[in-house]
Amino acid sequence: MVKFSRYILVVIAIFSLAIALPRLYWISFEKPIKAPSVFYSCVDNDFFMIRPADGGILTNSNGDEFTRDEFELKLPLNYSRQLTLNRTMPDSINGVEMDLHEISRNRSFFRVRPKDIDTPLPSLYPLFESQSGRANLEMPDDFFRITWRMEFLDSKTNKILEEKSRMFSAVLYNRGFKFPATSINGLPTTRKSCDEGYLVIDGANQLFHIKMIKGKPFVRKVDLPEGLKFKHIACVDFSDKLYYAYLFSTNHEVYVLTQYDYMLQKLDVAETHPELNEVRILGDLFNYTITSLGNGFISTTVLDKDFKFVDTYKESWLTKDERLEGKIAHLLFPFELKLTDNKSSYIRFFSAFHSSFLWLIVSLCLMVLHFIIIKKRKENVKNQIADLAIIAITGIFGFIAVNFFPNKFFM
Protein backbone atom coordinates (compact mmCIF):
# COMPACT_ATOMS: atom_id res chain seq x y z
CA MET A 1 0.00 0.00 0.00
CA VAL A 2 2.95 2.30 0.69
CA LYS A 3 4.27 1.63 -2.81
CA PHE A 4 0.82 2.40 -4.19
CA SER A 5 0.77 5.70 -2.28
CA ARG A 6 4.11 6.64 -3.83
CA TYR A 7 2.85 5.98 -7.37
CA ILE A 8 -0.25 8.08 -6.69
CA LEU A 9 2.02 10.93 -5.65
CA VAL A 10 4.14 10.41 -8.77
CA VAL A 11 0.98 10.58 -10.92
CA ILE A 12 -0.15 13.80 -9.16
CA ALA A 13 3.32 15.29 -9.67
CA ILE A 14 3.43 14.33 -13.38
CA PHE A 15 -0.07 15.74 -13.87
CA SER A 16 0.83 19.03 -12.17
CA LEU A 17 4.22 19.35 -13.91
CA ALA A 18 2.71 18.57 -17.36
CA ILE A 19 0.54 21.65 -16.83
CA ALA A 20 3.03 23.93 -15.07
CA LEU A 21 6.27 23.41 -17.03
CA PRO A 22 4.85 23.96 -20.56
CA ARG A 23 2.91 26.97 -19.23
CA LEU A 24 6.12 28.44 -17.77
CA TYR A 25 7.96 27.71 -21.04
CA TRP A 26 5.33 29.44 -23.18
CA ILE A 27 5.06 32.43 -20.85
CA SER A 28 8.82 32.85 -21.21
CA PHE A 29 9.28 32.21 -24.92
CA GLU A 30 5.99 32.56 -26.79
CA LYS A 31 5.98 35.24 -29.47
CA PRO A 32 2.69 36.80 -30.58
CA ILE A 33 1.29 35.73 -33.93
CA LYS A 34 -0.28 38.81 -35.45
CA ALA A 35 -2.78 37.82 -38.09
CA PRO A 36 -3.55 40.29 -40.89
CA SER A 37 -6.96 41.98 -41.12
CA VAL A 38 -8.49 41.40 -44.54
CA PHE A 39 -11.01 43.74 -46.21
CA TYR A 40 -12.64 43.74 -49.61
CA SER A 41 -12.59 46.90 -51.67
CA CYS A 42 -15.75 47.69 -53.60
CA VAL A 43 -13.69 50.26 -55.54
CA ASP A 44 -10.93 47.94 -56.85
CA ASN A 45 -12.78 44.64 -56.34
CA ASP A 46 -9.65 43.38 -54.61
CA PHE A 47 -8.58 42.35 -51.08
CA PHE A 48 -6.73 44.82 -48.88
CA MET A 49 -4.81 43.93 -45.77
CA ILE A 50 -3.52 45.56 -42.59
CA ARG A 51 -0.40 43.60 -41.57
CA PRO A 52 0.48 44.19 -37.88
CA ALA A 53 3.22 41.53 -38.10
CA ASP A 54 5.09 43.71 -40.63
CA GLY A 55 4.82 46.96 -38.70
CA GLY A 56 1.23 47.62 -39.69
CA ILE A 57 1.85 48.09 -43.43
CA LEU A 58 -1.17 48.39 -45.68
CA THR A 59 -1.20 46.23 -48.82
CA ASN A 60 -3.43 44.72 -51.44
CA SER A 61 -3.45 41.08 -52.53
CA ASN A 62 -0.53 41.73 -54.95
CA GLY A 63 1.61 43.05 -52.13
CA ASP A 64 1.53 46.70 -53.28
CA GLU A 65 1.92 49.03 -50.32
CA PHE A 66 -0.35 52.01 -49.65
CA THR A 67 -0.30 55.05 -47.44
CA ARG A 68 -3.09 55.37 -44.90
CA ASP A 69 -4.98 57.94 -46.99
CA GLU A 70 -4.69 55.78 -50.14
CA PHE A 71 -5.79 52.72 -48.16
CA GLU A 72 -8.85 54.46 -46.74
CA LEU A 73 -9.86 55.65 -50.21
CA LYS A 74 -9.85 52.03 -51.38
CA LEU A 75 -12.26 51.08 -48.58
CA PRO A 76 -14.77 53.92 -48.52
CA LEU A 77 -17.50 51.88 -46.80
CA ASN A 78 -15.17 50.98 -43.92
CA TYR A 79 -13.80 54.49 -43.49
CA SER A 80 -16.84 56.54 -44.52
CA ARG A 81 -16.69 58.85 -41.47
CA GLN A 82 -12.99 59.62 -41.99
CA LEU A 83 -13.44 60.19 -45.73
CA THR A 84 -16.41 62.47 -45.05
CA LEU A 85 -14.26 64.44 -42.60
CA ASN A 86 -11.49 64.66 -45.23
CA ARG A 87 -14.11 65.59 -47.88
CA THR A 88 -12.83 62.74 -50.05
CA MET A 89 -15.85 60.44 -49.80
CA PRO A 90 -16.89 59.55 -53.36
CA ASP A 91 -20.38 60.69 -54.47
CA SER A 92 -21.17 57.28 -55.90
CA ILE A 93 -19.64 53.82 -56.19
CA ASN A 94 -20.64 51.31 -58.87
CA GLY A 95 -23.46 53.66 -59.83
CA VAL A 96 -24.90 53.76 -56.31
CA GLU A 97 -25.19 57.11 -54.58
CA MET A 98 -23.25 57.26 -51.32
CA ASP A 99 -25.66 58.22 -48.57
CA LEU A 100 -24.11 57.99 -45.08
CA HIS A 101 -27.41 56.95 -43.55
CA GLU A 102 -27.75 54.06 -46.03
CA ILE A 103 -24.11 53.04 -45.53
CA SER A 104 -24.67 52.92 -41.79
CA ARG A 105 -27.97 51.03 -42.09
CA ASN A 106 -26.35 48.35 -44.23
CA ARG A 107 -23.28 47.96 -42.07
CA SER A 108 -23.17 44.92 -39.81
CA PHE A 109 -20.49 43.13 -37.85
CA PHE A 110 -20.79 39.67 -36.39
CA ARG A 111 -18.16 37.58 -34.64
CA VAL A 112 -18.27 34.14 -33.05
CA ARG A 113 -15.30 32.50 -31.37
CA PRO A 114 -14.94 28.81 -30.42
CA LYS A 115 -15.07 29.81 -26.74
CA ASP A 116 -18.49 31.40 -27.34
CA ILE A 117 -19.76 27.99 -28.44
CA ASP A 118 -17.95 25.71 -25.98
CA THR A 119 -19.23 27.51 -22.91
CA PRO A 120 -21.60 26.81 -20.01
CA LEU A 121 -25.01 28.07 -21.08
CA PRO A 122 -27.82 29.10 -18.73
CA SER A 123 -31.04 27.13 -18.76
CA LEU A 124 -33.20 30.12 -17.81
CA TYR A 125 -33.92 33.05 -20.13
CA PRO A 126 -35.99 36.22 -19.88
CA LEU A 127 -38.85 36.45 -22.39
CA PHE A 128 -39.31 40.12 -23.24
CA GLU A 129 -42.58 41.71 -24.31
CA SER A 130 -42.01 42.25 -28.05
CA GLN A 131 -44.73 44.86 -28.51
CA SER A 132 -44.89 46.72 -25.23
CA GLY A 133 -45.41 50.08 -26.92
CA ARG A 134 -42.49 51.43 -24.92
CA ALA A 135 -39.36 52.88 -26.51
CA ASN A 136 -37.08 50.80 -24.28
CA LEU A 137 -37.24 47.12 -23.49
CA GLU A 138 -37.92 46.15 -19.88
CA MET A 139 -36.51 43.16 -18.04
CA PRO A 140 -39.40 40.84 -17.11
CA ASP A 141 -39.81 39.57 -13.54
CA ASP A 142 -39.94 35.98 -14.72
CA PHE A 143 -37.52 33.69 -16.54
CA PHE A 144 -38.41 30.66 -18.64
CA ARG A 145 -36.99 27.21 -19.20
CA ILE A 146 -38.12 24.55 -21.65
CA THR A 147 -37.90 21.09 -20.14
CA TRP A 148 -40.93 18.77 -20.17
CA ARG A 149 -42.94 21.95 -20.73
CA MET A 150 -42.27 25.68 -20.97
CA GLU A 151 -42.08 26.97 -17.41
CA PHE A 152 -41.90 30.53 -16.18
CA LEU A 153 -40.30 31.17 -12.80
CA ASP A 154 -41.05 34.34 -10.90
CA SER A 155 -37.81 35.81 -9.58
CA LYS A 156 -39.65 37.56 -6.74
CA THR A 157 -41.08 34.39 -5.25
CA ASN A 158 -38.88 31.70 -6.85
CA LYS A 159 -42.13 29.92 -7.77
CA ILE A 160 -43.50 28.67 -11.10
CA LEU A 161 -46.12 30.87 -12.77
CA GLU A 162 -48.62 28.12 -13.54
CA GLU A 163 -51.05 30.01 -15.74
CA LYS A 164 -48.41 31.53 -18.02
CA SER A 165 -46.50 28.25 -18.16
CA ARG A 166 -49.63 26.34 -19.19
CA MET A 167 -50.57 28.90 -21.83
CA PHE A 168 -47.15 28.87 -23.55
CA SER A 169 -46.71 25.10 -23.20
CA ALA A 170 -50.12 24.47 -24.77
CA VAL A 171 -49.37 26.66 -27.79
CA LEU A 172 -45.95 25.05 -28.26
CA TYR A 173 -47.54 21.60 -28.02
CA ASN A 174 -50.22 22.51 -30.56
CA ARG A 175 -47.56 23.77 -32.99
CA GLY A 176 -45.84 20.36 -32.85
CA PHE A 177 -43.01 21.25 -30.47
CA LYS A 178 -41.32 18.15 -29.01
CA PHE A 179 -40.18 18.80 -25.45
CA PRO A 180 -37.55 19.38 -24.16
CA ALA A 181 -35.68 22.10 -26.01
CA THR A 182 -32.10 21.21 -26.92
CA SER A 183 -30.97 24.73 -27.72
CA ILE A 184 -32.38 28.17 -26.87
CA ASN A 185 -30.87 31.05 -28.81
CA GLY A 186 -31.62 34.73 -28.54
CA LEU A 187 -30.35 38.07 -27.36
CA PRO A 188 -31.25 38.09 -23.66
CA THR A 189 -30.52 41.77 -23.12
CA THR A 190 -32.49 44.99 -22.97
CA ARG A 191 -29.72 46.71 -24.96
CA LYS A 192 -31.10 45.94 -28.41
CA SER A 193 -33.24 47.86 -30.84
CA CYS A 194 -36.28 45.57 -30.43
CA ASP A 195 -37.12 42.09 -29.22
CA GLU A 196 -37.46 39.18 -31.59
CA GLY A 197 -37.69 36.44 -28.98
CA TYR A 198 -35.81 33.17 -29.30
CA LEU A 199 -34.97 30.58 -31.92
CA VAL A 200 -35.40 27.24 -30.21
CA ILE A 201 -34.48 23.75 -31.36
CA ASP A 202 -36.74 21.08 -29.91
CA GLY A 203 -36.14 17.43 -29.07
CA ALA A 204 -36.87 16.38 -32.67
CA ASN A 205 -34.40 18.91 -34.18
CA GLN A 206 -37.19 21.20 -35.36
CA LEU A 207 -36.62 24.93 -35.34
CA PHE A 208 -39.16 27.25 -33.71
CA HIS A 209 -39.38 31.00 -33.31
CA ILE A 210 -40.88 31.88 -29.94
CA LYS A 211 -41.68 35.34 -28.64
CA MET A 212 -44.29 37.10 -26.53
CA ILE A 213 -46.63 39.67 -28.08
CA LYS A 214 -48.88 41.57 -25.70
CA GLY A 215 -48.55 38.84 -23.11
CA LYS A 216 -49.57 36.09 -25.53
CA PRO A 217 -47.31 33.44 -27.06
CA PHE A 218 -46.14 33.78 -30.65
CA VAL A 219 -44.83 30.45 -31.94
CA ARG A 220 -43.77 29.83 -35.51
CA LYS A 221 -42.26 26.61 -36.80
CA VAL A 222 -39.49 27.14 -39.40
CA ASP A 223 -39.46 24.69 -42.29
CA LEU A 224 -36.09 23.01 -42.54
CA PRO A 225 -34.74 20.91 -45.42
CA GLU A 226 -34.62 17.18 -44.64
CA GLY A 227 -31.69 16.26 -42.40
CA LEU A 228 -30.50 19.80 -41.73
CA LYS A 229 -29.27 20.22 -38.16
CA PHE A 230 -27.71 23.24 -36.53
CA LYS A 231 -24.77 23.18 -34.16
CA HIS A 232 -24.83 26.89 -33.41
CA ILE A 233 -27.40 29.65 -33.87
CA ALA A 234 -26.42 33.27 -33.28
CA CYS A 235 -29.27 35.77 -33.23
CA VAL A 236 -28.42 39.25 -34.49
CA ASP A 237 -29.92 42.71 -34.19
CA PHE A 238 -28.76 44.63 -37.26
CA SER A 239 -30.28 47.88 -38.41
CA ASP A 240 -31.14 46.56 -41.91
CA LYS A 241 -33.55 44.04 -40.26
CA LEU A 242 -33.04 41.54 -43.07
CA TYR A 243 -32.64 38.42 -41.00
CA TYR A 244 -32.94 37.04 -37.48
CA ALA A 245 -29.82 34.96 -37.13
CA TYR A 246 -26.75 33.29 -38.55
CA LEU A 247 -27.18 29.53 -38.35
CA PHE A 248 -24.21 27.15 -38.53
CA SER A 249 -25.16 23.62 -39.58
CA THR A 250 -23.56 20.36 -38.51
CA ASN A 251 -22.35 19.87 -42.10
CA HIS A 252 -20.40 23.14 -41.80
CA GLU A 253 -22.71 25.34 -43.88
CA VAL A 254 -23.85 28.83 -42.91
CA TYR A 255 -27.43 30.06 -43.27
CA VAL A 256 -29.39 33.19 -42.51
CA LEU A 257 -33.02 33.12 -41.45
CA THR A 258 -34.83 35.99 -43.14
CA GLN A 259 -37.19 38.14 -41.11
CA TYR A 260 -40.97 37.80 -41.46
CA ASP A 261 -40.95 35.19 -44.31
CA TYR A 262 -38.74 32.69 -42.41
CA MET A 263 -36.70 31.66 -45.45
CA LEU A 264 -33.43 29.87 -44.85
CA GLN A 265 -30.79 31.21 -47.21
CA LYS A 266 -27.49 29.39 -47.55
CA LEU A 267 -24.33 31.45 -47.76
CA ASP A 268 -22.15 30.47 -50.73
CA VAL A 269 -19.06 29.95 -48.63
CA ALA A 270 -16.69 27.01 -48.09
CA GLU A 271 -16.92 24.83 -44.98
CA THR A 272 -17.10 26.96 -41.85
CA HIS A 273 -16.10 25.65 -38.44
CA PRO A 274 -17.01 28.17 -35.75
CA GLU A 275 -16.23 25.54 -33.10
CA LEU A 276 -12.58 25.54 -34.26
CA ASN A 277 -11.97 28.94 -35.85
CA GLU A 278 -13.06 32.48 -35.16
CA VAL A 279 -15.67 33.50 -37.75
CA ARG A 280 -16.35 37.14 -38.62
CA ILE A 281 -19.07 38.31 -40.96
CA LEU A 282 -18.89 41.91 -42.10
CA GLY A 283 -21.81 43.34 -44.06
CA ASP A 284 -21.85 46.55 -46.07
CA LEU A 285 -23.82 48.20 -48.84
CA PHE A 286 -22.54 45.82 -51.54
CA ASN A 287 -21.12 42.71 -49.94
CA TYR A 288 -20.79 40.29 -47.08
CA THR A 289 -17.22 39.39 -46.12
CA ILE A 290 -16.92 36.11 -44.24
CA THR A 291 -13.57 35.52 -42.54
CA SER A 292 -12.38 32.38 -40.78
CA LEU A 293 -9.35 32.93 -38.58
CA GLY A 294 -7.75 29.69 -37.47
CA ASN A 295 -4.49 28.23 -36.28
CA GLY A 296 -2.03 29.45 -38.92
CA PHE A 297 -4.43 30.72 -41.56
CA ILE A 298 -6.98 33.31 -42.53
CA SER A 299 -9.60 32.66 -45.17
CA THR A 300 -11.89 35.41 -46.45
CA THR A 301 -14.80 34.95 -48.83
CA VAL A 302 -16.80 37.78 -50.33
CA LEU A 303 -20.48 37.35 -51.20
CA ASP A 304 -22.87 39.76 -52.85
CA LYS A 305 -26.06 40.91 -51.16
CA ASP A 306 -27.83 37.78 -52.41
CA PHE A 307 -25.20 35.68 -50.60
CA LYS A 308 -23.67 34.51 -53.92
CA PHE A 309 -19.94 33.94 -54.23
CA VAL A 310 -17.80 36.86 -55.49
CA ASP A 311 -14.19 36.21 -54.54
CA THR A 312 -12.00 34.50 -51.97
CA TYR A 313 -8.59 35.05 -50.40
CA LYS A 314 -6.45 32.73 -48.27
CA GLU A 315 -3.22 33.25 -46.46
CA SER A 316 -1.26 31.05 -44.09
CA TRP A 317 1.71 31.37 -41.79
CA LEU A 318 3.74 29.18 -39.46
CA THR A 319 1.76 27.97 -36.47
CA LYS A 320 3.07 28.12 -32.92
CA ASP A 321 4.13 24.45 -33.17
CA GLU A 322 5.96 24.97 -36.48
CA ARG A 323 8.05 27.87 -35.20
CA LEU A 324 11.45 27.43 -33.50
CA GLU A 325 9.98 27.83 -30.01
CA GLY A 326 7.37 25.17 -30.84
CA LYS A 327 10.04 22.75 -32.06
CA ILE A 328 12.04 23.28 -28.84
CA ALA A 329 8.84 22.58 -26.86
CA HIS A 330 8.44 19.32 -28.84
CA LEU A 331 11.99 18.40 -27.84
CA LEU A 332 11.54 19.21 -24.15
CA PHE A 333 8.07 17.86 -23.47
CA PRO A 334 6.49 14.59 -24.64
CA PHE A 335 3.08 16.18 -24.24
CA GLU A 336 1.47 19.31 -22.87
CA LEU A 337 -1.57 19.48 -20.63
CA LYS A 338 -3.77 22.50 -20.12
CA LEU A 339 -6.90 23.04 -18.09
CA THR A 340 -7.83 26.18 -20.01
CA ASP A 341 -7.73 26.95 -23.70
CA ASN A 342 -8.59 29.96 -25.83
CA LYS A 343 -11.08 27.77 -27.72
CA SER A 344 -13.22 26.96 -24.70
CA SER A 345 -14.73 28.68 -21.67
CA TYR A 346 -14.74 25.38 -19.78
CA ILE A 347 -12.05 24.04 -17.50
CA ARG A 348 -11.22 20.70 -19.07
CA PHE A 349 -8.23 18.67 -20.21
CA PHE A 350 -6.68 20.01 -23.37
CA SER A 351 -3.81 17.72 -24.19
CA ALA A 352 -1.34 18.03 -27.03
CA PHE A 353 0.72 14.93 -27.74
CA HIS A 354 3.77 15.83 -29.78
CA SER A 355 3.93 13.80 -32.96
CA SER A 356 7.57 14.55 -33.81
CA PHE A 357 8.99 12.16 -31.15
CA LEU A 358 11.93 14.55 -30.69
CA TRP A 359 11.18 14.36 -26.98
CA LEU A 360 12.43 10.75 -26.98
CA ILE A 361 15.99 12.17 -27.16
CA VAL A 362 15.48 14.07 -23.91
CA SER A 363 13.68 11.11 -22.35
CA LEU A 364 16.61 8.84 -23.22
CA CYS A 365 19.12 11.31 -21.73
CA LEU A 366 17.04 11.56 -18.55
CA MET A 367 16.83 7.76 -18.31
CA VAL A 368 20.65 7.59 -18.51
CA LEU A 369 20.91 10.33 -15.87
CA HIS A 370 18.48 8.47 -13.61
CA PHE A 371 20.47 5.26 -14.15
CA ILE A 372 23.64 7.09 -13.01
CA ILE A 373 21.76 8.38 -9.91
CA ILE A 374 20.64 4.83 -9.09
CA LYS A 375 24.18 3.52 -9.46
CA LYS A 376 25.59 6.35 -7.32
CA ARG A 377 23.10 5.48 -4.57
CA LYS A 378 24.17 1.85 -4.93
CA GLU A 379 20.59 0.73 -5.41
CA ASN A 380 19.30 -2.29 -7.26
CA VAL A 381 18.32 -1.33 -10.84
CA LYS A 382 15.68 -4.10 -10.84
CA ASN A 383 13.68 -2.14 -8.26
CA GLN A 384 13.80 0.97 -10.42
CA ILE A 385 12.55 -0.43 -13.73
CA ALA A 386 9.07 1.06 -13.24
CA ASP A 387 10.61 4.48 -12.62
CA LEU A 388 12.75 4.21 -15.75
CA ALA A 389 9.65 3.28 -17.75
CA ILE A 390 7.81 6.31 -16.30
CA ILE A 391 10.70 8.56 -17.41
CA ALA A 392 10.71 6.95 -20.90
CA ILE A 393 7.02 7.74 -21.39
CA THR A 394 6.63 11.04 -19.56
CA GLY A 395 10.11 12.52 -20.08
CA ILE A 396 11.08 15.48 -17.93
CA PHE A 397 7.78 15.36 -15.98
CA GLY A 398 8.39 11.76 -14.91
CA PHE A 399 12.08 12.38 -14.14
CA ILE A 400 11.25 15.19 -11.72
CA ALA A 401 8.31 13.24 -10.22
CA VAL A 402 10.23 10.03 -9.46
CA ASN A 403 13.08 12.02 -7.90
CA PHE A 404 10.76 14.20 -5.83
CA PHE A 405 9.21 11.03 -4.38
CA PRO A 406 12.25 8.77 -3.98
CA ASN A 407 12.04 5.05 -4.45
CA LYS A 408 15.11 4.18 -2.44
CA PHE A 409 13.25 2.47 0.42
CA PHE A 410 11.56 -0.22 -1.60
CA MET A 411 14.26 -2.85 -1.82
Binding site: R6, L9, I12, P120, Y346, F409
Partner: protein
Protein backbone atom coordinates in the same frame (compact mmCIF):
# COMPACT_ATOMS: atom_id res chain seq x y z
CA UNK B 1 -6.87 1.28 22.03
CA UNK B 2 -8.50 2.63 18.86
CA UNK B 3 -10.86 4.68 21.01
CA UNK B 4 -7.90 6.18 22.84
CA UNK B 5 -6.19 7.00 19.57
CA UNK B 6 -9.27 8.73 18.19
CA UNK B 7 -9.63 10.67 21.45
CA UNK B 8 -6.00 11.83 21.09
CA UNK B 9 -6.77 13.08 17.53
CA UNK B 10 -9.88 14.85 18.80
CA UNK B 11 -7.90 16.62 21.53
CA UNK B 12 -5.44 17.89 18.94
CA UNK B 13 -7.88 19.31 16.43
CA UNK B 14 -11.05 20.10 18.37
CA UNK B 15 -10.58 23.88 18.73
CA UNK B 16 -9.35 24.33 15.17
CA UNK B 17 -12.23 22.22 13.90
CA UNK B 18 -14.90 24.01 15.91
CA UNK B 19 -13.55 27.47 15.02
CA UNK B 20 -13.31 26.51 11.34
CA UNK B 21 -16.82 24.99 11.30
CA UNK B 22 -18.14 28.19 12.95
CA UNK B 23 -16.36 30.44 10.44
CA UNK B 24 -17.59 28.24 7.57
CA UNK B 25 -21.23 28.46 8.66
CA UNK B 26 -20.98 32.21 9.28
CA UNK B 27 -19.45 32.67 5.81
CA UNK B 28 -22.31 30.80 4.16
CA UNK B 29 -24.82 32.89 6.12
CA UNK B 30 -22.93 36.06 5.12
CA UNK B 31 -23.13 35.05 1.43
CA UNK B 32 -26.91 35.05 1.69
CA UNK B 33 -27.09 38.25 3.75
CA UNK B 34 -25.27 39.79 0.79
CA UNK B 35 -27.70 38.13 -1.67
CA UNK B 36 -30.63 39.54 0.32
CA UNK B 37 -29.00 42.98 0.39
CA UNK B 38 -28.28 42.99 -3.37
CA UNK B 39 -31.81 41.84 -4.19
CA UNK B 40 -33.25 44.54 -1.94
CA UNK B 41 -31.10 47.27 -3.45
CA UNK B 42 -31.53 46.21 -7.10
CA UNK B 43 -34.34 43.76 -7.90
CA UNK B 44 -34.77 39.97 -7.92
CA UNK B 45 -34.94 39.83 -11.73
CA UNK B 46 -31.86 42.03 -12.02
CA UNK B 47 -29.99 39.78 -9.60
CA UNK B 48 -31.03 36.59 -11.43
CA UNK B 49 -29.94 38.21 -14.68
CA UNK B 50 -26.59 39.12 -13.10
CA UNK B 51 -26.07 35.47 -12.09
CA UNK B 52 -27.30 33.95 -15.36
CA UNK B 53 -25.78 36.24 -17.98
CA UNK B 54 -23.14 38.45 -16.41
CA UNK B 55 -21.00 35.85 -14.65
CA UNK B 56 -22.11 36.82 -11.12
CA UNK B 57 -21.16 34.30 -8.40
CA UNK B 58 -22.99 34.75 -5.12
CA UNK B 59 -20.82 32.04 -3.55
CA UNK B 60 -17.40 33.53 -4.38
CA UNK B 61 -16.63 34.26 -0.71
CA UNK B 62 -16.36 30.51 -0.06
CA UNK B 63 -13.46 29.99 -2.51
CA UNK B 64 -10.45 29.81 -0.18
CA UNK B 65 -12.26 28.82 3.00
CA UNK B 66 -12.13 25.00 2.60
CA UNK B 67 -8.41 25.16 1.83
CA UNK B 68 -7.59 27.40 4.80
CA UNK B 69 -9.64 25.20 7.14
CA UNK B 70 -7.99 22.03 5.86
CA UNK B 71 -4.54 23.55 6.24
CA UNK B 72 -5.25 24.57 9.86
CA UNK B 73 -6.68 21.16 10.81
CA UNK B 74 -3.86 19.23 9.10
CA UNK B 75 -1.17 21.29 10.85
CA UNK B 76 -2.98 20.98 14.20
CA UNK B 77 -3.23 17.23 13.75
CA UNK B 78 0.17 16.30 12.33
CA UNK B 79 2.62 18.97 13.50
CA UNK B 80 2.49 17.88 17.19
CA UNK B 81 3.38 14.37 15.98
CA UNK B 82 6.66 15.59 14.50
CA UNK B 83 7.73 17.49 17.64
CA UNK B 84 10.26 15.18 19.33
CA UNK B 85 9.09 12.55 16.80
CA UNK B 86 6.05 11.68 18.96
CA UNK B 87 4.47 9.72 16.14
CA UNK B 88 7.05 7.00 16.83
CA UNK B 89 5.08 6.29 20.03
CA UNK B 90 2.07 5.49 17.86
CA UNK B 91 4.22 3.20 15.73
CA UNK B 92 5.29 1.35 18.86
CA UNK B 93 1.71 0.54 19.79
CA UNK B 94 0.59 -3.02 19.07
CA UNK B 95 -1.30 -1.82 16.00
CA UNK B 96 -0.70 -2.12 12.29
CA UNK B 97 1.35 1.01 11.43
CA UNK B 98 -0.44 1.73 8.15
CA UNK B 99 -3.78 1.12 9.82
CA UNK B 100 -2.86 3.57 12.60
CA UNK B 101 -1.88 6.22 10.04
CA UNK B 102 -5.05 5.65 8.01
CA UNK B 103 -7.12 5.93 11.19
CA UNK B 104 -5.52 9.30 11.88
CA UNK B 105 -6.25 10.36 8.32
CA UNK B 106 -9.79 9.02 8.47
CA UNK B 107 -10.53 10.95 11.63
CA UNK B 108 -9.08 14.21 10.33
CA UNK B 109 -10.61 13.93 6.86
CA UNK B 110 -13.90 12.67 8.34
CA UNK B 111 -14.30 15.64 10.67
CA UNK B 112 -13.32 17.97 7.82
CA UNK B 113 -15.93 16.26 5.66
CA UNK B 114 -18.59 16.79 8.35
CA UNK B 115 -17.79 20.51 8.60
CA UNK B 116 -17.88 20.77 4.77
CA UNK B 117 -21.18 18.88 4.76
CA UNK B 118 -22.69 21.31 7.27
CA UNK B 119 -21.65 24.26 5.08
CA UNK B 120 -22.93 22.49 1.98
CA UNK B 121 -26.32 21.67 3.47
CA UNK B 122 -26.76 25.21 4.75
CA UNK B 123 -25.68 26.57 1.36
CA UNK B 124 -28.16 24.26 -0.42
CA UNK B 125 -31.05 25.15 1.87
CA UNK B 126 -30.51 28.91 1.62
CA UNK B 127 -29.86 28.75 -2.15
CA UNK B 128 -33.15 27.01 -2.75
CA UNK B 129 -35.00 29.81 -0.95
CA UNK B 130 -33.71 32.42 -3.38
CA UNK B 131 -32.93 30.50 -6.58
CA UNK B 132 -34.24 27.63 -8.70
CA UNK B 133 -32.17 24.53 -9.52
CA UNK B 134 -31.16 26.16 -12.81
CA UNK B 135 -29.03 28.62 -10.83
CA UNK B 136 -28.21 26.44 -7.83
CA UNK B 137 -26.91 23.31 -9.66
CA UNK B 138 -24.24 25.19 -11.68
CA UNK B 139 -23.26 26.91 -8.41
CA UNK B 140 -22.69 23.50 -6.79
CA UNK B 141 -20.56 22.44 -9.75
CA UNK B 142 -18.49 25.59 -9.22
CA UNK B 143 -17.92 25.23 -5.47
CA UNK B 144 -17.18 21.48 -5.64
CA UNK B 145 -13.55 21.99 -6.80
CA UNK B 146 -13.02 24.39 -3.87
CA UNK B 147 -14.00 21.66 -1.42
CA UNK B 148 -11.83 19.18 -3.35
CA UNK B 149 -8.98 21.71 -3.00
CA UNK B 150 -9.65 21.56 0.76
CA UNK B 151 -9.22 17.78 0.86
CA UNK B 152 -6.14 17.98 -1.39
CA UNK B 153 -4.72 20.61 0.92
CA UNK B 154 -5.34 18.37 3.94
CA UNK B 155 -3.75 15.30 2.33
CA UNK B 156 -0.70 17.11 0.98
CA UNK B 157 -0.14 19.08 4.21
CA UNK B 158 -0.15 15.80 6.13
CA UNK B 159 2.37 14.43 3.63
CA UNK B 160 4.64 17.47 3.98
CA UNK B 161 4.45 17.76 7.78
CA UNK B 162 5.21 14.06 8.39
CA UNK B 163 8.10 13.97 5.89
CA UNK B 164 11.31 13.72 7.97
CA UNK B 165 13.75 15.27 5.43
CA UNK B 166 13.55 19.03 4.73
CA UNK B 167 14.76 18.66 1.13
CA UNK B 168 11.85 16.38 0.31
CA UNK B 169 9.43 18.56 2.27
CA UNK B 170 10.31 21.35 -0.17
CA UNK B 171 9.84 19.01 -3.14
CA UNK B 172 6.40 17.96 -1.87
CA UNK B 173 5.56 21.59 -1.23
CA UNK B 174 6.38 22.40 -4.88
CA UNK B 175 4.01 19.65 -6.07
CA UNK B 176 1.30 20.86 -3.67
CA UNK B 177 1.73 24.46 -4.82
CA UNK B 178 1.39 23.31 -8.43
CA UNK B 179 -1.57 20.99 -7.84
CA UNK B 180 -3.92 22.75 -5.40
CA UNK B 181 -4.26 26.02 -7.40
CA UNK B 182 -5.51 23.97 -10.38
CA UNK B 183 -8.71 23.49 -8.37
CA UNK B 184 -8.93 27.15 -7.45
CA UNK B 185 -8.49 28.83 -10.80
CA UNK B 186 -11.06 31.31 -11.99
CA UNK B 187 -13.83 29.90 -14.14
CA UNK B 188 -17.31 30.72 -15.30
CA UNK B 189 -20.13 29.29 -13.20
CA UNK B 190 -20.36 25.57 -14.10
CA UNK B 191 -17.03 25.87 -15.96
CA UNK B 192 -15.45 23.08 -13.89
CA UNK B 193 -18.16 20.50 -14.68
CA UNK B 194 -16.09 18.52 -17.27
CA UNK B 195 -13.15 17.93 -14.89
CA UNK B 196 -14.92 17.58 -11.56
CA UNK B 197 -15.18 13.74 -11.68
CA UNK B 198 -11.51 13.25 -12.60
CA UNK B 199 -10.34 15.75 -10.01
CA UNK B 200 -12.50 14.07 -7.35
CA UNK B 201 -10.84 10.70 -8.10
CA UNK B 202 -7.35 12.23 -8.04
CA UNK B 203 -8.01 13.97 -4.71
CA UNK B 204 -9.51 10.78 -3.26
CA UNK B 205 -6.42 8.83 -4.31
CA UNK B 206 -4.19 11.46 -2.73
CA UNK B 207 -5.59 10.36 0.65
CA UNK B 208 -3.06 7.53 0.60
CA UNK B 209 -0.16 9.98 0.32
CA UNK B 210 0.17 10.14 4.10
CA UNK B 211 1.37 6.52 4.11
CA UNK B 212 4.41 7.46 2.04
CA UNK B 213 5.93 10.02 4.42
CA UNK B 214 4.76 7.94 7.42
CA UNK B 215 6.74 5.02 6.01
CA UNK B 216 9.82 7.16 5.53
CA UNK B 217 9.41 8.53 9.06
CA UNK B 218 9.24 5.15 10.74
CA UNK B 219 12.12 3.78 8.66
CA UNK B 220 14.20 6.60 10.10
CA UNK B 221 15.00 8.43 6.86
CA UNK B 222 17.21 11.43 7.67
Amino acid sequence: MWKGMIYKEWLKIRWFLLIYAGIGILSVVYCFIRVQHDITFSSPNGYWYFLLFMGGQYFSLLKFLPGIGALAIAIAQYFPETVSKRIKLTFHLPLNENKALLTMWLFGAGTLFISYLLQFLLFTGLSLIYFPGDIFVPAISSILPWFLAGFACYNLTALIVLEPVWKYRIFYLIVAVLFVPLLLQSALTDGFSPVNPFMAVLVLLSSFSLLFSGYRFRKGEM
